[in-house]
């Protein structure tokens, strides 16, 4: 019976399979060439359209054409191309030219098309629209962007938040942070890029949020952003958090922030942190003290050159180098004559880094 299967029944099956596969192979090859054909003709069409639009946009920027005249030349079916065409100009232009080009989008039918896409498009289209709205700084789309923050798709949320930051909607910061917290995959770097997009205007509201913020993750982020902008008025609040919080993640960010801000009042707390059990706290405290310029710790820093952790040793050497001439001389002596191998090695690395500039 098995023999029959292999010899008769299966022969028909395999023949059919061969024919089906031959058909599939043929169709796939045709499909691939069709794709290439479509892509090439789309490129040609795009090239032709863009060449015409380029001339038109320059006439518009020079005031020879009005927005109505331009939009009359761009049919609705070509909006996707036109959006793509404008993107590179919007990214490159600044000042009046940017404002004029942005008005071409925000004051015409193209804007309602963008809003329509943001509300009704698939997730990809929603993301792209949100991104483009931010690109043209369309403040009138704020309410739609806020609604977009609740979108289930991470990409749409991110682009809406980024666009809100671009249009300077500082009052939406709380919603952005709140939404960020309840999402599944929070990436610190992504949220930081949103906070940084707000610019220095965000510092004051961020400080206000920081005072009432219960969540450790958000505290770390806000402190990080305030440190990035070196917002001095935040120094005291950050210092209070540093002294009151046991959590390492928050403490590390506080130390980094007071170091970047160069907050003088932080020196006593930082000196205490030098004795912390966690190497990250020790190394950052030493780095911050070196940055603020506390030369009273120089002798202690020499001891830290022999610390068990490489980064603590390196930061100590770095701080000694930046604090004073005396510190630099001490480093040279240690590099050449110290019997402590760890201290000598790290000092050599630091001195070479400083000499070469790497």
């Amino acid at each position: 019976m098995i023999g029959k299967f292999f010899n008769q029944g299966a022969l028909w099956t395999t023949t059919m399979a061969v024919l089906a596969l031959l058909f599939v192979v043929g169709m796939l090859i045709l499909y691939c060439f069709f794709l290439r054909f479509v892509s090439n003709s789309s490129k040609k069409k795009q090239f032709k359209l863009y060449a015409g639009w380029e001339k038109m946009v320059f006439q518009y920027l020079e005031g020879e054409k009005t927005t109505q005249e331009i939009m009359a030349l761009v049919p609705r079916a070509r909006y996707a191309y036109f959006q793509h065409f404008l993107k590179s100009y919007l990214l490159a232009l600044k000042g009046d030219d940017f404002e004029k080009l942005s008005a071409l989008v925000t004051n015409t039918d193209l804007f309602s098309c963008l809003i329509d896409q943001l509300v009704h498009g698939d997730e990809q289209v929603r993301s792209e629209s949100a991104f483009f709205i931010g690109l043209v700084r369309a403040r009138q789309a704020k309410e739609h962007l806020i609604r977009g923050l609740e979108d289930k798709d991470e990409g749409v949320y991110f682009n809406c938040a980024l666009s809100l930051a671009k249009i300077g909607a500082i009052d939406t910061l709380g919603i952005i942070l709140g939404q960020f917290r309840i999402r599944k995959k929070p990436s610190r770097d992504l949220l930081l890029s949103i906070l940084f997009e707000f610019g220095t205007d965000a510092c004051q509201p961020l400080l206000w949020y920081l005072k009432g913020e219960p969540d450790a993750f958000s505290i770390s982020l806000i402190v990080d952003a305030l440190g990035h902008y070196r917002y001095y008025p935040a120094g005291e609040e950050i210092l209070c958090i540093l002294d009151a919080t046991p959590g390492y993640d928050v403490r590390i960010n506080c130390i980094r922030a007071v170091g970047k801000i160069e907050y003088l009042g932080a020196m006593p707390s930082l000196r205490e942190c030098m004795n912390d059990a966690d190497w990250r706290v020790r190394s950052l405290a030493i780095w911050a003290l070196g940055r603020i310029g506390d030369d009273s710790v120089e002798e202690e820093l020499v001891v830290y050159l022999g610390d068990e952790n490489w980064w603590v040793r390196y930061r100590a050497a770095e701080a000694l180098f930046s604090l004073s001439r005396k510190g630099r001389e001490a480093l040279s002596v240690i590099a050449q004559h110290s019997k402590n191998k760890k201290a000598a090695s790290v000092t050599r690395i630091l001195l070479t880094d400083m000499k070469v500039g790497g």
């Binding site: 098995i2 023999g3 292999f6 010899n7 299966a10 022969l11 395999t14 023949t15 399979a17 061969v18 596969l21 031959l22 599939v24 192979v25 796939l28 090859i29 499909y31 691939c32 060439f33 794709l35 290439r36 892509s39 090439n40 993107k87 990214l91 990809q124 993301s127 792209e128 991104f131 483009f132 990409g155 995959k185 929070p186 990436s187 610190r188 770097d189 992504l190 930081l192 890029s193 940084f196 990080d224 990035h228 490489w310 390196y314 590099a335 090695s345 790290v346 050599r348 690395i349 001195l351 070479t352 000499k355 070469v356 500039g357 790497g358």
Partner: protein
């Protein structure tokens, strides 16, 4: 009596081979479907966001590009110069001269005006002794380490020890990276804190116009042996790795180009020196150790950042490469065999690892013996000759469907090969590679498995003539 038992065995084996073929065919089909969706989604995502936007505030993670070099005197200057020109806000290039017998080190010293400096290591993975450190004021982000020969894994570990950056990117000295490669490969680390390793796509540079470590014009290789490998690489990367990545079960990041969190690599003790497939072994070990500590750990793949590499153009060198790959796969599997069907490792334990055991490690045995059994079956009259021919045709055509699909995936996403004639070349290769070339590979892998079983576990010799000027 003997004849009856042989015939019975042949029947059973035929059914086994058929089941095996159907299973692998189904897996490939599913992988293909998943990759199609993933790649379309990815290419749509990257089409509208300028990647540099993500990196413009200086809150990026610094990267150490580690380049292990052994006898790379001909190409090391071009490749190092190209690595130094990569687009990324904060990175260092660490070239580790692994006791080269040619003028690799001297070329680096004279071209980049390097001087021996007093320097040291940040971390302490065990490696062969370091002879000296070299740096230059003109190229402050370049560090050259000269060490005694210890193999590729040992050289990479030395680079890791010297790195001060949170991310390390391991690159072959003869590889060519696209300029924005680091931006693309680091992006997953920015978007998801659970990502500990990212692999990029490796493509074949033979046939391309290459100057000063840059690919200027892309074209398929002139020789068929090169074209076959182009199709193979497209299949392996575009739907193999993308498919496995969709379920966080990727077991290989190519040794030619991969980016890792330095902390994660240190936690697992660095690369295993003396290992044949050190790239796969590291990734498997990372899954094994780090996924237990954090089940959300991700090892992922990005189909976009391209690393170009030179493919072997003679059968002898190709054989040596494939034998090494097969032995590396077996070694990595055997070292971590306790992961087989172990649900503690999620999809890695009950899908990726068994897949590698059954279809990659044992695959050549099944395929090779399949050919023999099929011939015997025809001789004993178990299968008729027309059926045998038709069956083999099905297998070949199915292979073609997969190869062509990978070319279509490429066409739908990245369109690296610009001319329509290039597509024709790739389709010809997709057709022909299933007749002869694939069987040759099976034979090499079969022999490699036998050699491994009998204790031959060396790296073999890999000659490269270098691409471009």
């Amino acid at each position: 009596m003997v004849n009856i038992s042989i015939i019975g065995a042949l029947y059973i084996y035929n059914y086994f081979a058929l089941t095996y073929l159907l299973t692998i065919g189904t897996i490939y089909f599913v992988l293909c479907f998943v990759s199609f969706k993933t790649i379309r989604k990815y290419s749509a995502k990257v089409s509208y966001i300028d990647i540099k936007d993500l990196f413009r505030y200086g809150n990026t993670k610094a990267v150490s590009v580690i380049v292990p070099a052994y006898n790379e005197g001909n190409s090391i200057i071009n490749s190092t110069s190209a690595f130094l020109q990569l687009e990324y806000p904060d990175f260092h290039v660490i070239v580790v001269n692994d006791g080269s017998k040619d003028d690799t080190l001297n070329n680096l010293i004279s071209h980049f005006s390097m001087k021996r400096v007093p320097y040291g290591m940040v971390d302490s993975i065990d490696t062969m002794p370091v002879r000296g450190f070299y740096r230059s004021k003109e190229h402050p982000s370049l560090l050259v380490i000269d060490k005694e020969n210890g193999g590729k894994a040992d050289a990479i570990n030395t680079g890791i020890n010297a790195s001060k950056d949170p991310l390390i990117c391991v690159i072959d000295a003869d590889s060519i990276l696209e300029r924005d490669c680091l931006l693309k490969v680091v992006r997953p680390f920015v978007e998801d804190e659970n990502v500990i390793a990212v692999g990029g796509i490796v493509r074949i540079a033979n046939g391309c116009k290459v100057e000063q470590g840059r690919v200027l014009e892309i074209a398929p290789p002139k020789k068929f042996i090169g074209k076959f490998q182009v199709v193979e690489y497209l299949r392996a990367f575009l739907f193999g790795r993308t498919g496995f990545d969709a379920v966080n079960a990727m077991l290989i990041i190519s040794g030619a180009f991969g980016c890792f969190s330095k902390d994660a690599v240190l936690k697992v003790g660095g690369y295993r020196a003396g290992c044949i497939g050190e790239d796969m072994e590291l990734v498997v070990r990372m899954h094994k150790i780090l996924r237990r500590q954090n089940p959300n750990t991700r090892i992922t793949f990005v189909p976009d950042p391209v690393c170009w590499t030179e493919a072997p153009e003679t059968l002898k060198v190709l054989r040596s490469q494939r034998v090494r790959w097969q032995k590396g796969t077996i070694q990595s599997i055997m070292l971590h065999k306790d992961m087989f069907l172990n649900t503690d490792y999620g999809w890695v334990g009950f899908f990726a690892f068994p897949y590698f055991v059954i279809f990659e490690m044992l695959g050549p045995f099944v395929e090779f013996s399949g050919y023999i059994v099929f011939i015997l079956s025809a001789l004993f009259g178990i299968v008729s000759l027309p059926f045998a021919i038709m069956f083999l045709t099905v297998a070949v055509l199915y292979g073609m469907v997969l190869s062509i699909t990978s070319v279509i995936l490429e066409e739908l996403s990245f369109k690296k090969y610009p001319k329509t004639s290039h597509l024709l070349h790739l389709f010809c290769a997709a057709f022909l590679e299933n007749i002869g070339y694939r069987q040759l590979q099976t034979w090499w892998r079969f022999r490699a498995t036998i050699e491994y079983a009998f204790g031959s576990r060396g790296w073999g010799k890999m000659e490269k003539k270098g691409v471009g000027k």
